[in-house]
Subunit: 178 residues, 2 copies
DNA sequence: TAATTATGGCAGTAATGTTGACGTAGCTGG
DNA sequence: CCAGCTACGTCAACATTACTGCCATAATTA
């Protein structure tokens, strides 16, 4: 565990909490660094999703609808089971939003050709339009962040984010799409 | 709203990747890049929070409790209003988890000295222990990601994450702590 | 044919969030 | 000093999103 990352920050302005006394200085710095990452993930995710939430609220939908739209859009003709595996939610939770999306004409279900039990999910033109509208809100933030941070930073961002997620999520991302 | 985008998307098996599509090549790549970032944020956040959720479930608590513990831990003697501003939830939503945390002895409320209307929130030793237990789960992932990605990547990660969040979130992070 | 798989559906529950209204104590400015 | 604002608490009602468990159907597979 090479966590010898000396920077010697004498802690912030406050003297309290988590006083490991003396020799744990380096260890403490590393911890602060990781706690700061917790903050980053919280705020970035909060504001990133918040951008789309505003639009969704006006349509009587929530984040769950957006997530479904997003992954169906990126994986046309995706079977329900694959979508469940991506979202890590239960069948019933997905069914709720999926029913709404189909009824409102955002998604169509088609019977699978190789396996006729499957209901392959695809966005309609209407669904693509909505997904795009939601994407545009988030796009602004991302484009801003990417532009401001620069190409090298973006690569680092990608690498760290991949490292945080589970192996099967990385695997999913690696396989192009389907 | 430009939803001219009729049914014309014949590329069934593979949506993105190397779609020249005439002169819009560069623009398209940029879009794919940003959509990939949506994926990254979803999976990283999903698995990052999931790590702590396992512990929380065993204690009959949820993410909301963890978020409160985290920010109280990082800001001892924080007034309720400040915590509300960080979490972006309503007073009532916070009150629910806060009541539980106080009743279970994880958090103490102390009257403010300069402004006696304030209830300053601080973790008890028990609260610190729980927060630490939750942190440890996430720490593994973060440490793994940071180690694997390298110091340069971590810097890029930080810069991009900061770019995604709102200005006031950046401001909060910049002020050290309180 | 029997077992498994993919999917759908129903019932009930929990966690988290919302709005709106009301109350109380304490601070602050004219 | 009083009026008004602020910080906080609380109650009621409701929506979204998640969960578990159970049952059903159709299609694939061994």
């Amino acid at each position: 565990m090479p966590d010898v990352k000396g920077e010697l920050r004498p802690l912030d302005t406050r003297p309290g909490e988590t006083r490991p006394a003396a020799g744990a200085g380096l260890l403490f710095l590393r911890e602060e660094e990781l706690r700061a990452a917790q903050d980053l993930l919280f705020f970035a995710y909060r504001d990133f999703t918040g951008a789309a939430d505003e639009v969704l609220a006006g349509l009587g939908m929530g984040r769950a609808h957006h997530r479904a739209l997003h992954f169906i859009g990126r994986n046309p003709a995706i079977p329900v089971s694959d979508l469940l595996a991506i979202l890590h939610i239960t069948k019933q939770s997905l069914a709720r939003v999926l029913t709404a999306l189909v009824e409102d004409g955002y998604v169509i279900q088609q019977q699978g050709q190789t396996d006729r039990r499957q209901r392959l999910l695809t966005l309609t033109a209407r669904g693509e339009a909505l997904e795009r509208q939601l994407f545009e809100r988030q796009r602004e933030r991302l484009a801003h962040a990417y532009r401001e941070a620069g190409a090298g930073a973006v690569d680092g961002f990608r690498r760290v984010m991949r490292g945080i997620m589970d192996g099967d999520a990385r695997q999913y991302l690696d396989r192009g799409s389907r």
